[in-house]
Symmetry: C2
Subunit: 362 residues, 2 copies
């Protein structure tokens, strides 16, 4: 009855996380209330909140130098909040441009200070088919921070080796590939990720911040917009999105049961091998625009021989129980979003469909 | 199995709204996905989004001059966003001070401009036991807006006649009494309300804005923080908190089934009569600090003869299946939050308990 969900986000979630939510929706842990009906200042919710933070800390091996935050407003709000917090008058910040989302982040920063482009891989068509190499970066050692986007949902590119920003703090938007594999958190000063790809429903964002970096944040901005406010209050300064955090907790529990981040990496690597393997085998029919070294494991984009056939592909795949395969309107074509909840078997089903489709329409 | 939930928020929700969510949690309307797994750009979610806006519009009789917004960050974020959007350099705004939440709103405004206190009912102890009358307001006709708080959760006070701000735009935080009865939206320029009292789970906020007022908003602030951005995009500029909006939709459906806002008013008025009636009858035991004309229908505060007995009241009421009755730490005593989902029967149960408690401990 459940479809195979290849949506770019909000995306499919692991069935056990949803089943648990369903089973306790009217009565959480014998409290006689739903988790969403509990006060955020009472023990049942506080335990869920703490459990979610502990699971994140355990899965990622987050050291004491860093702290976990639950925030709202999605990545789009952080595009503005990062410069509000960390860019002072006269300072500049470096932006690494790899797609639509880094463009949006840059646009917000322009309204608040003087950001600088440290690298861009935009092509003559205004599109991106790769991420820059370390050698291409022109970093300003005096920048307040470097902002990068680890994975680009629309263009299907991803950094497989993260850039090295030297002594300049590294702020990274990991919304679409957070926790797809183990991550060395110590290399980052501020990581943020909307939950609606690998982690849970929309409406909550996870950030991991170096405490020293937070301490440098501006204090002349509204209190609610200071990251330090939320860090000091364990993300309970004001009412958090309790139901969304509870669902994230359930997804993290599922991840731990699947071998944690090494388990996710194994699963996601296998999925990408199968899918890119098929694209490389069926080059007479499908075109994959992204340079091999920049291919995303999370969002795989390709085209059939024509826009008309792209549309047929989307319609026929839907009939076969697979949804969300239409490419973003900016990029066109087909996009497979293969976040953590997508199984190897789901990808095998898709690859069979792709082979069959190429045969009947080739 | 379900307890009687008197929490101040997040608060209890109508059982039918939760049951519906539970029944379709794994498969929304035959789509083979949960509502939280749907793309916010696809038809199933878009229909829910539109349905929620239409139900709000119908229930409140919102005219074409106004628009509905779904936002995040709770009321605390609006405390900063209101002056960011509507206060220009050199302008002042009038704040009507009636409790902790208006103090927080004022504090954020101070970081962004020069707000002015138009009235305050704070007493020598720093507390509030009433709201001001129209005659007590000293309004500045040149103010960018007047900010008020319609109901005060902590002190249990409420405006029963809304203040008249003349030609100055009226911005009102209705988080804790939004939709408790019919409301003439035309008298307001910007209404905002976190969902977690009368409307749904935490993680989403409803705003109703006069379009002309939005058009005056500043354009030199980050795009994500401009209310106009969200109005232009029907609250789909970035990924909205889809699950929370879906739950709001379910609650609105329940409200319509209960006779809409006239039905809510009848129910809430009866609840308040029963509860304040008991307090006025049992004055030898209970003390109700709020002046009669300012008594809140949503949050009813009182004390037993001692702090020790207050604690016993909370413990014994819990054993009798009623939770959330401990007063806010700022105010102490007992607080009954009787939002829309609390039934007349729930209040009857509480009143019987109060009578019994007064008898056995009096």
């Amino acid at each position: 009855m459940r479809v195979i969900n290849f949506s770019a986000g909000p995306a499919g979630l692991p069935l056990p996380a949803l089943e648990k939510a369903r089973d306790e929706l009217l009565d959480y842990a014998g409290t006689g209330m739903s988790i969403m009906e509990q006060s955020h200042r009472d023990k049942p919710y506080e335990a869920v909140h703490r459990d979610a933070i502990e699971r994140l800390t355990r899965l990622l091996g987050i050291p004491d130098t860093h702290t976990v935050l639950f925030l709202t407003g999605g990545a789009s709000a952080q595009f503005a909040l990062i410069p509000m917090n960390f860019l002072s008058a006269g300072q500049s910040a470096d932006y690494v441009m790899t797609g639509v989302w880094s463009e949006k982040a840059l646009d917000e920063a322009k309204l608040l200070g003087t950001p600088r482009i440290a690298a861009t891989t935009v092509n003559a068509d205004g599109k991106y088919t790769r991420v820059p190499t370390q050698a291409e970066l022109q970093l300003d050692p005096g920048a307040a921070y470097v902002h990068s986007t680890s994975n680009n949902t629309i263009y299907g590119t991803q950094f497989h080796t993260m850039i090295d920003t030297g002594s300049v703090p590294h702020v990274c938007d990991m919304s679409s590939d957070f926790m797809w594999r183990p991550l060395d958190v110590r290399k980052f000063d501020f990581i943020y990720a909307g939950a609606q790809k690998n982690l849970g429903p929309s409406g909550v964002l996870v950030a991991i911040a170096r405490k020293e970096f937070l301490a440098r944040g501006r204090k002349d901005i509204p209190k609610i917009f200071r990251y330090a406010t939320h860090a000091e209050a364990d993300s309970l300064y004001n009412t958090p999105p309790t139901l969304a955090i509870y669902l994230v907790r359930n997804v993290l529990e599922w991840m731990e049961g699947q071998g944690g981040l090494p388990g996710m990496e194994k699963r996601n690597t296998r999925k990408a091998e199968l899918l890119y393997g098929a694209l490389d085998r069926l080059t007479g029919f499908y075109t994959a625009p992204v340079e091999k070294a920049s291919r995303s494991v999370m969002n795989i984009v390709f085209r059939t021989p024509s826009e008309a056939l792209d549309a047929v592909f989307v319609t026929e795949s839907k009939k076969a129980g697979m949804i969300g395969l239409k490419g973003h309107r900016t990029a066109g074509g087909i996009r497979v979003s293969a976040y953590n909840a997508v199984s190897v078997q789901d990808i095998e089903t898709l690859v069979s469909f792709m082979e069959q489709f190429a045969k009947s329409h080739g």
